[in-house]
């Protein structure tokens, strides 16, 4: 089996798992099941999975790779008398990708999110994107009592969306943010490493990088590399710097986003590393977004931090789109970077 096929089999399996912030157990269990015996595995009190693997050499500086396990999802907040479920998003979800969707609960219950038909809308209403607080989940229940047998307050549910390959080497699915990063770390953990390293699969990134804050304290790294996804807007109707970054142009190495000004030397080293091994690389043309770096770089008196991201269209939707070669570019860069970081 080629490396590529293994990487995307893994990405697909991870995409299909359901685990929003605070509900990462299933993802964590799967990742543990895929780890080789060489790894030392601990789970911290907030739920981060901290994996250590010895390499050929011990580095002078403690190195930590980091990707988050959680995805955006929904939580039931109230059961209406007529059996509809009020809900809140867990993580940032645009109302535009909520209307007209199916969701699924852990027990297999399916629900739909919609409202009265467009034929019944006033001309004003037709122009408006319905707000999440005005929407409900319909699981087919006739009243609250019936509904509660299937889904109750505090239950999580998820976009129903298939992981699929399409077009010219593209993939789509829910939760690729950041299961793609998890797939890259799992792939590295199943290889001989040049240097000892920690790989942290964090929780609660989507509600404020909360897991990473604890993980960084627990690991106390000198250097951190965050493996993430980042918004690509290289779509019809968008151009120039508004595209942010492009699919097919390789690993995104960030210099700054809304949460972090990245370590200047590591930023250069990451780009240089990708260039030297012939991997396409790019950066972001907009100061936007944020990730676990925001928590990690400020932890334990300061951690020098870099972020390597997969350019991704339609983040936080049921259909995140990536180009496979960009995921491979992140893997190859992350792998080579460990050698260079070990020598620092």
């Amino acid at each position: 089996m080629s490396e590529n096929k293994e990487l995307f089999d893994l990405t697909g399996r991870l995409s299909r798992l359901c685990g929003t912030s605070g509900d990462e157990q299933g993802v964590r269990d799967f990742i543990i099941s895929q780890l080789p015996a060489e790894c030392t595995v601990t789970t911290d009190s907030i739920g981060d999975l901290i994996v250590f693997r010895k390499g050929a050499k011990a580095p002078d500086k403690k190195i930590m790779y980091c990707a988050h396990m959680d995805e955006v999802g929904f939580i039931v907040t109230y059961v209406c008398d007529d059996g509809r479920l009020k809900f809140a998003p867990v993580g940032g979800i645009s109302p535009a990708v909520v209307f007209g969707r199916r969701v699924v609960f852990a027990n297999g219950t399916v629900g739909v999110i919609a409202a009265k038909a467009l034929h019944q809308l006033s001309s004003d209403e037709k122009e408006k994107q319905p707000k999440i607080e005005d929407l409900t989940i319909d699981i087919g229940a006739g009243n609250a009592e019936e509904a509660r047998k299937y889904a109750d307050q505090g239950d999580f549910c998820y976009f129903m969306s298939e992981y699929e390959e399409f077009g010219d080497g593209f993939i789509k699915g829910k939760a690729l943010d950041d299961r793609a990063g998890c797939a890259v770390m799992l792939t590295m953990l199943n290889e001989e490493l040049p240097y000892d390293a920690y790989f942290v699969f964090t929780v609660q990134e989507e509600i404020g990088t909360r897991g990473a804050q604890c993980a960084a304290f627990n690991v106390k790294p000198d250097i951190a590399v965050i493996l993430e996804t980042t918004t690509a807007c290289d779509i019809a109707g968008s151009e120039d710097e508004k595209e942010v970054c492009r699919l097919g142009e390789g690993v995104v190495v960030s210099f700054m986003d809304r949460s972090t000004i990245y370590d200047r030397e590591l930023y250069r080293l990451a780009r240089q590393t990708a260039g030297e091994i012939g991997v396409k690389h790019q950066t972001k043309s907009l100061i936007a977004g944020g990730n676990d770096s925001g928590a990690v770089h400020k932890a334990v008196g300061g951690v020098r931090t870099a972020a390597l991201s997969v350019p991704t269209r339609y983040l936080h939707s049921p259909a995140c789109v990536m180009k496979k070669e960009d995921v491979t570019a992140v893997l190859e860069t992350a792998r080579e970077l460990l050698k260079r970081l070990g020598e620092l």
Partner: protein, 341 residues
């Protein structure tokens, strides 16, 4: 019922390109009408009985097409621009997974809309002319090898079970109607009936009942019973403008519908204890019944609707008990109210 709905909703049939849905419906109909066939206009017709037996003929009708998109243009970067076939709901476009039905087979895509940092009016529903479909091709040249203007696009959702007898899928408008007709035929199968039966699954309803107009011209029906979906009440709608899901067949009352047939349907439903409700319209019905009733010299027409939530979305919801009620009511009519159905 689930099996039939699963087959019908899994098939695709955007207006003017109903082939796959026609074939699925034709196969199911052939069990009762062995000569069932699809015509050049995308309609499926079948006949049960004997043209020479002197009995009057009843047409059972539902539409076979569904709403969707049609590819109008492929841009330099390989994105597809589209137009609507029928009334698509602009509120749900963003990041929907779609299938583009190309000459060489189906391909997947995702609807792209501009995200908040680029869009001018982030809280407004996007216009159809402003969306594009991302099919994962890097250029027009690459896309053109597979996709062509005129290809149809559907937002896919196969049948899924909700609680009890509620089901969700795309295209339940009006595959639920097709299923109701098939259920009626199953109920009267093998019985001696006072009527011959014509079946019409009509194309292009969503763009203006064009299939029904074309096909009804060739019909020799004396009476037509049309079935389509209608609005089931949701808490944000007006109660008096909706039927209720799970409360049975919606018997249409409208100036365009035949009063005697409508009265007969109500009487049959009451006599046979078939769950029913009435849907009163002050004008035409917005269904194929409007055109069938004035076809040729006029066909006396009744309309029985199935309550459906979230019409013209990929998450339409029906209650299979309502579909069965419509089928039973049609069957009761076909038996002349004699036999128990």
């Amino acid at each position: 019922m689930d099996e039939i709905l699963e087959i019908l909703c899994a098939a695709d049939g955007v207006s003017g390109a109903e082939d796959s849905a026609c074939e699925a419906a034709r196969k199911l109909l052939a069990k009762y009408a062995p000569d069932a066939a699809a015509d050049k206009f995308g309609c499926v017709t079948g006949f049960i009985g004997d043209r020479n037996n002197g009995k009057p003929t009843v047409m059972l009708e539902a539409h076979i097409d569904e709403i969707g998109f049609i590819v109008t243009y492929i841009d330099d970067d390989g994105f597809l621009k589209v137009g609507s076939c029928g009334g698509t709901d602009r509120r749900l476009y963003a990041a929907q997974t779609v299938t583009v039905h190309c000459g060489s087979g189906d391909i997947k895509g995702v609807i792209c809309t501009l995200p908040p940092h680029v869009a001018k009016d982030g809280d407004k529903a996007p216009k159809t002319e402003d969306i594009a479909i991302d099919v994962g091709f890097p250029s027009r040249e690459a896309a053109e090898k597979t996709v062509a203007p005129g290809d149809r696009v559907t937002i896919d959702n196969r049948l899924a079970k909700l609680i009890g007898t509620r089901r969700t899928a795309k295209a339940l408008d009006d595959r639920a109607g097709v299923a109701a007709v098939l259920h009626a035929l199953e109920l009267v199968s093998g019985r001696e009936l006072p009527y011959n039966i014509e079946v019409l699954f009509a194309s292009q309803e969503e763009v203006g009942s064009r299939g029904a107009i074309i096909s009804a011209f060739g019909s020799r029906a004396d009476i037509a019973l049309a079935t389509d979906v209608s609005f089931a009440y949701t808490s944000d709608a007006k109660k008096h403008e909706c039927g209720e899901m799970g409360k049975g067949a919606m018997i249409g009352i409208s100036p365009v519908l035949d009063r005697e047939i409508t009265a007969e349907l109500k009487k049959l439903a009451a006599d046979k204890k078939i769950p029913y409700q009435t849907e009163v319209m002050g004008r035409d019905t917005g269904t194929d019944a409007d055109d069938i009733s004035v076809s040729r010299g006029g066909i006396r027409t009744g309309l029985i609707s199935i309550p459906l939530k979230y019409m013209h979305t990929p998450v339409e919801v029906v209650d299979t008990e309502d579909i069965k009620a419509v089928g039973r009511l049609m069957a009761a009519f076909l038996t002349g109210g004699e036999a128990d159905v």
